[in-house]
């Protein structure tokens, strides 16, 4: 009877893949809809383009019950501390999708009160361009995030400790 020698860590990587598969297929979004992209977010959750079929079954409005924050719309400087607090209240593992041009870069609103990209202050995983992005684009970004989770996910969430994820994506420029 041949005894198959498994390399070390196979059980763990298999477990990682299983847990990542579970996590990616049950991403519950926290809709942080501030502006027009929120309408497209609602349209994505409605029946024609349904994100429930990708596992995002419910839009829980409590950050304690979500693992994906979708920031849809421009974030004013008055709203940014609220955004940061909601992000900190979410449990690990958590991901963030920046939906639309305004959340990603400030969009057309290069003014004194609009934050020019939430990735200056929040770690963002996937950016969705568009003004507003069509529901198909948002679904594409959720699928991209699912691929990212499957590729890099670990049981204990060690992928978030990687150095590439530690620094903010952009230098803080006014």
């Amino acid at each position: 009877m041949a005894i198959v020698e498994l390399p070390e860590g196979v059980a763990i990587t298999r477990l990682d893949k299983l847990v990542s598969w579970c996590r990616k297929n049950s991403l519950w979004p926290m809709p942080f809809a501030t502006a027009c992209c929120g309408i497209e977010l609602m349209a994505t959750g409605a029946s024609r383009h349904d994100i429930a079929r990708f596992g995002a079954e419910v839009f829980r409005f409590s950050p304690r019950q979500c693992d994906l924050m979708i920031v849809a719309g421009r974030v004013a400087m008055k709203m940014l501390p609220v955004l940061q607090r909601i992000w900190q209240q979410m449990h690990e593992p958590k991901w963030c999708i920046s939906m639309g041009a305004c959340a990603s870069t400030g969009g057309v609103f290069d003014t004194y009160s609009v934050v020019q990209g939430i990735d200056r202050f929040i770690p963002v995983d996937v950016y969705t361009p568009g003004c507003p992005p069509r529901p198909e684009q948002l679904i594409r970004s959720i699928l991209d995030l699912q691929e990212k989770i499957q590729r890099e996910g670990t049981v204990a969430g060690r992928e978030f400790d990687a150095p590439s994820r530690q620094r903010p994506k952009r230098a803080l420029q006014p």
Binding site: M77, K78, L80, P81, Q84, W87, Q88, K94, D110, T111, Y112, S113, V114, V115, Q116, R120, F121, I122, P123, F160, D161, R165, Q166, R167, P168, L172, Q173, P174
Partner: protein, 165 residues
């Protein structure tokens, strides 16, 4: 009461008003000392009982401007179905105008917005504080000498990375 009658009644009471009319829109310019009396007269006796808006124009770089801030009060009569625009001009430093809150309660927030964005004080306002911008904001952004992109207030926040969240 037709428009010329309104104007005539106003001019009888306040002889130093400037009145102009353009394409159906009547404008009355009052000095800031008598703006409250003009508004009272318009509200009580001439039938303009609804305050639509209080706003301001900054004439800093405007050719031919004599004063810096032009306050605009838009009044409507609900029974006469007429509109009138009342203007007054104030200057730096410390532009101050008597408040219209005792005439119209709705002027409370409208004047707070003008204070927030232009920096015009309303004497006698019960609660003059910022309404659309956060309280620690240190400037009045709709003035012409404030840059569009701001002076860094919009990015003056702590950064949260994956390590801290």
């Amino acid at each position: 009461m037709t428009e010329p009658e309104t104007i005539a009644a106003l001019k009888r009471r306040f002889p130093d008003l400037t009145v102009s009319e353009f394409r159906g829109q009547t404008r009355v310019v009052a000095p800031p000392e008598s703006i409250h009396d003009v508004l009272t007269e318009l509200k009580e006796h001439l039938g303009f009982d609804l305050l639509i808006d209080v706003t301001c124009v900054d004439y800093l770089n405007y050719r031919g401007a004599k004063d810096r801030f032009g306050l605009v009060y838009v009044l409507t009569g609900t029974e006469t179905n007429r509109r009138i625009i009342v203007r007054t001009f104030v200057n730096d430093p410390e532009p101050t105008v008597p408040t219209a809150v005792d005439l119209w309660e709705g002027a409370n927030w409208l004047e707070r917005e003008v204070w927030d964005l232009f920096g015009i004080r309303f004497a006698g306002h019960p609660d003059l504080r910022r309404i659309v911008l956060p309280e620690p904001f240190a400037a009045h952004p709709l003035r012409k000498d404030y840059p569009l992109q701001g002076r860094g207030e919009r990015h003056n926040f702590p950064v949260i990375t994956r390590a801290e969240s």
